[in-house]
Symmetry: C2
Subunit: 366 residues, 2 copies
């Protein structure tokens, strides 16, 4: 029986459990805390930054993969040195950990992205602002997520606090029509299979809703997105699921916003909507097993994130209201603003699918 | 967070895990052994016939349900007396445990079934044989499954060994065109939702293949099957999934063969093929949550059982050969003839779906 070890016990590790159960894979999770979302599969509770803890956890695993990108490079390299199959590997993961490294590497691969620069001083930032209409986006190279570590600025001193700690990334403020995500899975032996392009709707810097496939996409946009994801997956040697967050700019360009090297919020709709979910595909990919079909199960799928909490009585109310909607609860204690679950609907008519997903999700509104 | 306790750690309990993970239900399993199929969710390893063990296990569970029908009535009644929500309840489960009681009760409900009789002696059996062309089926009232405890006989003394232990059930040998299964779920508050009728193909008394929906069914057959299942579910007060195994006789009758009150092999195709799988529906039903839509996800689904074992290299080969097939491994050690997993394909063309399912399953042939 194949054994996959997952570092991190969040909802992404949790949603790997059903896929592992189906395929007869033993999933082991290194969880941050006993009450982690993926606690059912937790075999160790410990600190993913501690080399001995992680090495010990990895014993007997056929592959090691991740719920998040925060495992330090030194830990990744110690794992590899100890003979673990780390997927994605340290060299690839670097580009999901460090946005400056990512921009430099994608530039080298010729992948379209927003104008960007590394800035070390307020003067550097002033120069970039002057060249880009006086506004730009500043990002900390590391540690940002869900809108954290990101600022839209029009003042060269608006990032002084971050600059005190080191260089930051500045990017043109892309005027975009919408945001897209292109998911692809790649296995070590090289096979790579994309899913259909999806549209992601953000609110307050956080993904609120995903529509699959992205409505009204031209062939050119779909081709551009798939080509970017394929180039990045092979170019960076990604193994497992790669999510490429994209801008579709008002002037028709498709530009890379962010990378994630793990199952991704924009792919939750694949649980019901795809022949092979991102969680199953990720496990197959990290084990170097053949990848599955990503043919849609229905013409349309809509996924809506739920924040805060999903009390049982509201789950029951949502299911009663929308018998075809699927509710996913992440088993987390209530906390305002935190992703606590999601709702998915699939079907043949987009308006109907959106209606059903929103109607079910509305039961979790505060 | 709702807590469901499952008595028995076989593949049915195992396949409840993904549904529980999705809905944020805490699943607890009373397993027979540490290496049980559902070991991931096992919280107790113990004897389901032992009242204190089971009462202890049930503490804190919102509902108690089952992987199999073998829990003794005295244990079920002790659970109920202790205040546990036992679903299905002891009164209903009796009819899945005792085939003589089942025949008597279904006769009382006016449900169509084969001619049958209780026989206490070889003379009784001789009389039944004389009235039914000299051949009949003899069944032990309790403990039979997958062809065990069932004999086709033409000799009045062919059941002497069983008769020495008590009465047996004798049934006419139904000349059937095919076997069918009608699944339905019912919740305590009364809501009952059927799935589409399926055809089951048996080999050696064991289910080999399931086709959903049952091909070429007339409206009359589909209505008869749904009416039988609905009558039995309400009449016996079943909670959770009820599987009614049926004969479609050569003379056009739909007759009850067997009952099971739990998720059933004939319903595994619902994991991919239905908007709500039998495992999700069972959990919703036993918690008295609203039931889900059983609309098919595709026009056709085919499930093929795998016996013996599913080694990793063969799983990978099957997935490589058929990228749209879904493989389910039950995490059991190899044992000849034992159900070890299953393969499912769904799609729009039945011939193609059968081909893909069989092509994937062929990798597990000896």
């Amino acid at each position: 029986m194949a054994v996959v070890g997952v570092i991190g016990g969040g909802q992404l590790a949790r949603m790997m459990i059903p896929a592992a159960v189906a395929l007869g894979i033993e999933l082991r999770v290194l969880a941050e805390a006993p009450d982690a979302s993926a606690r059912l599969a937790a075999t160790v509770v410990g600190d993913y930054r501690d080399v001995p803890t992680v090495l010990d956890f990895a014993q007997g695993c056929d592959a090691i993969t991740f719920d998040h990108e925060h495992v330090p490079q030194e830990v990744l390299r110690a794992l590899t040195a100890a003979g673990a199959a780390v997927r994605p590997g340290a060299d690839a993961l670097l580009y999901a950990q460090d946005k400056l490294a990512m921009r430099e590497r994608l530039a080298g691969l010729g992948v379209p992205q927003p104008d960007w620069a590394r800035v070390d001083t307020a003067d550097d930032l002033a120069g970039f602002l002057a060249d880009h209409g006086g506004r730009a986006v500043v990002k900390t190279p590391r540690g940002g997520y869900d809108g954290k570590g990101v600022r839209v600025v029009d003042d060269a001193h608006a990032a002084d606090d971050w600059l005190a700690a080191g260089p930051v990334l500045v990017e043109e403020l892309v005027r975009f029509e919408r945001e897209l995500a292109q998911l692809i899975a790649r296995r070590p032996s090289g096979e790579a299979v994309p899913w259909p392009l999806v549209e992601t709707v953000q609110r307050g810097g956080v993904c609120a809703e995903v529509i699959a496939p992205a409505p009204h996409s031209t062939d050119a946009v779909e081709r551009a997105a798939a080509e970017i994801a394929t180039t990045v997956a092979h170019g960076l040697g990604v193994t497992g699921v790669l999510a490429v967050e994209l801008f579709q700019s008002t002037d028709g360009r498709v530009l890379v916003n962010e990378l994630a090297m793990r199952p991704h919020n924009s792919g939750h709709v694949t649980i019901e909507g795809s022949t092979t979910s991102q969680f199953e595909q990720h496990l197959r990919a990290v084990l170097d097993w053949p990848l599955g079909s990503t043919e849609p199960r229905a013409p349309w799928g809509v996924m809506i994130n739920v924040f805060g909490s999903l009390p049982d009585d509201r789950i029951a109310a949502a299911l009663g209201h929308q018998p075809s909607a699927k509710v996913h609860a992440y088993g987390k204690g209530p906390r305002a603003g935190r992703k606590a679950g999601h709702v998915t609907a699939i079907g043949v008519d987009l308006d109907d699918v959106v209606y059903r997903a929103r109607a079910a999700a509305s039961h979790f509104d505060d």
